[in-house]
């Protein structure tokens, strides 16, 4: 609930026609707020996030039933989608162009945003742009390989890898996603929105030297509420395949660390991200 109003506002401004939201048993007034929105349909479930394969089962059903033939942007509530020209060309312009160039999918990397001070300090207003409170990010410490089986790109790095997984980088969170898909009922997300089947849909990156059109998901996980959230997540043990392995991670998070460093970069917009090589217009000029 601390994110939804701005989440909806941001993506409404990008030209989303309709929001399909899965409310996983919230008790903070989310359901009521969603019910008041004219362009939101809500599904509520009391079942565990883990039991639904981290939400993938819910997505699969909704996308198959309502997404067929539409461009669908699949996001978590703590992600804000940005792409080249997003401040002057809406998603319809983008997807029309993707249609013209014959691309059924577009990739995006999650960019973890964090505050200047310790995590958990400060306050945030759900109606306001959360990036104002957490404007910093890591500009150039991302590593990746191409996974042979699904042919998707596996990107890791960023502040979480640097601060919490510096001894065991393999376990650092996956940052690559394929959130924008011209959906077909034959498609399926495999793990979160990191990869899909059939696997050619994962070819969202340039393999022959060129740059493919790519967006960024501004990840607002580290809003001030992160501390209470991570305590709750740890007790629910719903977020990882092998939850015990991540105890240290939650302990570290709950202690309110500072992610900011002298080398952190302050967010100024998509042009800056493009200059840094984090997103690309991919020939969409």
């Amino acid at each position: 609930m601390d994110r939804l109003p701005y989440f909806v506002q941001h993506h409404r401004a990008l030209g989303i026609d309709h929001f399909l939201i899965v409310d996983n048993d919230s008790d903070d007034g989310t359901a009521k707020w969603l019910a008041d929105q004219p362009d939101v349909s809500t599904w509520t479930t009391p079942h565990g996030y883990k039991a639904s394969r981290f939400g993938v089962d819910w997505l699969t059903v909704l996308l198959a039933r309502y997404g067929h033939g539409h461009w669908c942007l699949t996001l978590d509530a703590d992600e804000l989608f940005v792409y080249a020209h997003h401040d002057r060309r809406n998603l319809r312009a983008l997807t029309d162009w993707l249609d013209v160039t014959g691309r059924p999918t577009m990739g995006a990397m999650m960019l973890d945003m964090y505050p200047r001070g310790a995590l958990g300090s400060g306050a945030s207003d759900p109606e306001k742009d959360p990036i104002a409170g957490i404007p910093y990010f890591d500009a150039g410490n991302y590593v990746m390989i191409r996974q042979p089986k699904l042919q998707n790109l596996w990107v890791q790095g960023g502040p979480r890898a640097r601060a919490f997984f510096r001894a065991d980088p393999r376990r650092a969170p996956t940052l690559s996603k394929v959130p924008l898909v011209r959906w077909n009922r034959r498609y399926a997300y495999v793990s979160s929105t990191h990869s899909l089947l059939p696997r050619y849909l994962n070819h969202v990156y340039g393999r022959h030297g060129g740059e493919a059109p790519t967006g960024i998901l501004l990840h607002t996980k580290f809003l001030p509420t992160i501390l209470s959230k991570s305590v709750e997540e740890m007790s629910r043990r719903q977020h990882f395949e092998n939850s015990n392995l991540y105890d240290e991670y939650y302990d570290a998070l709950a202690s309110g660390p500072v992610l900011w460093t002298e080398a952190s970069t302050r967010y100024h917009g998509w042009q800056q991200l493009e200059g840094l090589g984090l997103l690309s217009r991919g020939g969409w000029d």
Binding site: H85, R88, R89, R92, A93, D96, W97, V100, T101, G102, G107, A108, M109, D138, A139, G140, N141, Y142, V143, M144, I145, R146, L153, V155, P159, A161, R162, F165, R166, A167, D168, P169, R170, S176, V204, Y205, G206, R207, H208, G209, G210, E211, A212, P213, T214, T261, E262, A263, S264, T265, L276, G277, L278, L279, S280, R281, G282, G283, W284, D285
Partner: protein, 564 residues
């Protein structure tokens, strides 16, 4: 009523209507061809919108497939009708439903009035064509293409291969000189009538109906046959991306489109409200009267095409992850790697930093720590000093460092004691300058207080690692600039060698090296090497210290001269 338009429409009917009405309001007749694939109901609705508009009429319809004869056929239908119905028309302008006039039509009319006999059609001989995406240039005219390139690519390619293998060729009809060019043109009545009323038109049409992409060659070739005066460029601004798909223009392109001074542009995104409202408003103040100059905006689009096609060298990202061999540059900038120097000289690192500028790191690939310059724990871009993170993807650690420090020279030390995984990358990267003194690791070792067995073990380990690295440098495919000396060779003339390296890195400077760092005392080396050899470790990489004493003396003399 001297200028008439042929409008090919298959979608975005509202915009086509807007543009057609604009032309008609400016006293220009318009013949619209609506794609035969459009449902009769939709067509009828569209046609009915123009009731009471005598200048807008519709031509016979045909189903249009991209890249096929049907597109020419549709153009012929509409052009015939236009010439027939409006005898005053002197120029015919071919446009599509996604075209938008950028300047008032009155200006276009004036321009054409000053060129009454000129045909504006891009028309280039096949030898000069550089833009085709499929690589078919001359063969467009000599092979047959019965299969759809878009829908049946495999059959298309196979059939092309078969014809090449068996040398099957079509005869080009007499009097046809194959030319290619943009599909969008503006022809005079005389030229167009000559083409459409040619006595051999059935034969010519039947030939072109099997040419590949005839809409880019039919009028382009035939106007060469009949025209008195061709200006070989299109009056329509259209840009193509690396895949041969047209660039689309949006509201934010408005200043760019104005600057181009072109009369018409395509394609316009149908929802670009501001472009349509601006450019279809003839009341707007007109400041520009220059001749069309699409070149002004070429630069912008060629940069986009470059990004799309070749990308930024040295960038690895969610947008760009080239397969091996497609990197177009393994890293983004030149950098320098020194090996052994810090063991031969005292305080070499600070000295080098003063000489080279930029950032001089320590051993970036030291197994226990990442020695960033100045002892930093994070580098630009928040690159961490964790050895585990570095060793997880050692090559991307380096490419990330170089990417985030673009514009600043990077140098670091690398030796046989460091993690070896990065070695082959350094050797393959043309951006790397490697300066290596092999066997320099014996210098600290020979004054070490360690137990001799430990020294031997260490010497064996370092020598093995160095031999492996040197082997990498001799492999095929080494692209780095490598300067390699054995320790013995180096100490013979250290200043000259150092000078050469620094000159290569920073460009030749007027200054000779004067403030050389102090060399460590290596007078005990020959004995130490003998000891090693007798202990069972054969020194293989330090070079020949057979006549050591004199050489050392010479080096020392040389040094003392220069220090003064």
């Amino acid at each position: 009523m001297t200028l008439g338009f042929v409008l090919l429409v298959h979608t975005a009917f509202d915009r086509a209507e807007q543009v057609a009405r604009y032309f008609a309001a400016n006293d220009c007749p318009v013949i619209i061809h609506v794609d035969g694939k459009v449902k009769p109901r939709t067509f009828k609705d569209f046609r009915d919108r123009f009731q009471g508009e005598p200048l807008v009429r519709f031509s016979r319809r045909t189903r249009v497939e991209w890249g096929t004869w049907s597109l020419v056929r549709a153009t012929q239908f509409a052009a015939e009708r236009l010439l027939d119905n409006f005898p005053d028309v002197r120029h015919v302008f071919l446009a599509s439903g996604s075209c938008l006039p950028l300047r008032p039509v009155a200006q276009l009319k004036d321009y054409l009035a000053t060129h009454p006999e000129t045909d504006f059609i891009e028309s280039v001989t096949t030898h000069q064509v550089t833009w085709t995406v499929d690589g078919l240039e001359t063969e467009r005219f000599t092979l047959r293409f019965p299969f759809s390139w878009r829908k049946n690519r495999r059959a298309f390619d196979t059939y092309v291969r078969l014809q090449r293998r068996f040398g099957l060729r079509r005869r080009i009809p007499d009097g046809i000189s194959p030319h290619l060019g943009s599909q969008w043109w503006c022809l005079t009545r005389r030229t167009l009538e000559s083409i459409l009323n040619a006595p051999d038109r059935p034969a010519v049409d039947s030939y072109f109906s099997k040419v590949w992409i005839p809409d880019e060659s039919y009028f382009q070739s035939l106007s060469r046959r009949y025209s008195a005066d061709i200006e070989s460029h299109s009056l329509t601004l259209s840009k193509f991306d690396v895949q041969g798909k047209p660039h689309v223009f949006y509201d934010d392109h408005q200043p760019l489109l104005e600057r181009s001074d072109c009369f018409v542009a395509r394609k316009i995104w149908p929802h670009a409200e501001r472009l349509y409202s601006t450019f279809l408003d003839d009341e707007r103040p007109i400041k520009r009267h220059a001749d069309p100059n699409p070149g002004k905006i070429d630069r912008v689009f060629s940069k986009a095409n470059e990004r799309r096609g070749r990308g930024r060298p040295g960038l690895y990202s969610q947008a760009r992850f080239p397969a091996p061999g497609f990197e177009n540059g393994l890293s983004c900038a030149r950098y320098n790697v020194f090996s052994g120097f810090e063991q031969v000289f005292h305080q070499f690192e600070p000295w080098l930093a003063r000489r080279l500028g930029g950032r001089v790191h320590g051993h970036l690939y030291h197994p226990d720590q990442v020695e960033f310059a100045g002892g930093e724990t994070v580098m630009n871009g928040c690159l961490s000093d964790s050895p585990a993170l570095r060793d997880y993807r050692p090559e991307q650690f380096l490419t990330n460092l170089l990417w985030s420090t673009r514009g600043e020279r990077q140098s670091f030390f690398y030796g046989p004691g460091d993690t070896p995984q990065i070695g082959s990358f350094l050797a393959r990267d043309p951006n790397a300058t490697l300066a290596i003194i092999s066997g320099a690791w014996v210098v600290p070792l020979h004054t070490s207080n360690m137990d001799f067995d430990e020294i031997k073990a260490e010497a064996a380990r370092l020598q093995r690692a160095e031999i492996m690295f040197l082997r990498t440098l001799r492999a095929t495919g080494v692209a780095a600039r490598v300067h390699l000396w054995t320790l013995a060779e180096f100490v013979e003339q250290p200043i000259e060698k150092l000078q050469n390296i620094l000159d290569e890195i920073t460009g030749p400077g007027p200054r000779r090296l004067t403030d050389l760092p102090q060399m460590r005392d290596i007078s005990g080396l020959p004995d130490f090497l003998l000891q090693l050899r007798n202990g069972g470790i054969k020194p293989q990489v330090v070079g020949d210290f057979g006549s050591m004493p004199t050489r050392i003396n010479r080096a020392a003399q040389e040094r003392s001269q220069n220090v003064r």
